[in-house]
Symmetry: C2
């Protein structure tokens, strides 16, 4: 990595560079919480991401160390995207954002059971979601 940015940057600013756009968090959500792993699966999110945007985001996410692009041995057309620890460590951020949205969006569609568990045993839920995502990658 070149990595020759102006030292000492605000943590919010760094986060925005990595996932501060309209689509990266959507893709991360689908990979981390919805169990999607393939390009074609990521295309089906109901927010309707354009194929060129998805491709460019996955490329940037790989460059930023959030995902690793791999080929399926049994079908070499197929690609799947594996989450790194750097990405999995965003689970608490996604949950905290969700908690906020549930309060302020009256049309929210957050799974109630998930949010109840987040309130009652946040650490355990985080660990479970990360573990579930890790298990899927094989």
């Amino acid at each position: 990595m070149p990595e020759s940015k102006p030292k000492n940057r605000c943590p919010i600013d760094y986060a925005l560079e990595v996932f501060g756009d309209r689509w990266t968090l959507i893709v991360l959500r689908d990979l981390m919480l919805s169990g999607k792993r393939h390009y074609r699966e990521l295309m089906t999110s109901k927010e309707g991401i354009a194929t060129n945007i998805l491709a460019s985001r996955l490329k940037k996410m790989e460059a930023d160390g959030l995902v690793i692009r791999k080929h399926k041995p049994e079908d070499k057309r197929q690609v799947f995207y594996e989450l790194t620890d750097k990405a999995l460590d965003l689970v608490p951020v996604l949950l905290e954002i969700s908690r906020w949205s549930v309060i302020y969006d009256k049309h929210t569609a957050a799974p109630p059971e998930l949010m109840r568990r987040y309130q009652e045993e946040p650490q355990q839920l985080i660990a479970d979601l990360q573990e579930a995502a890790r298990v899927r990658q094989t």
Copy 2:
């Protein structure tokens, strides 16, 4: 409010609509954690926001119920932006994002004392930051 969006929306998606762009979180950070309240103060962030973008973001943030625009009685040119509870409830999100950035950005500039307190007594730190922001608005 009109509020006629397609019912049942994902909480991540709602959050992205409200603050999922390059600048809104920067402005929120400056209002919530750096104690800025005036347009001219928000212009000085080292990320260098353009004046037209700042104006449009503040307008959208007001429409989304994050800030309230008020005039200073003693100088009617001056405007200050007051944070709503909806905005102050994003303090945990900002801190969680910061925690992540501190781990993965080797050039991070997060105040170590702040992050130490977040680790040791998160609830108290959140309450203190919200209270400090509230006190400033008068």
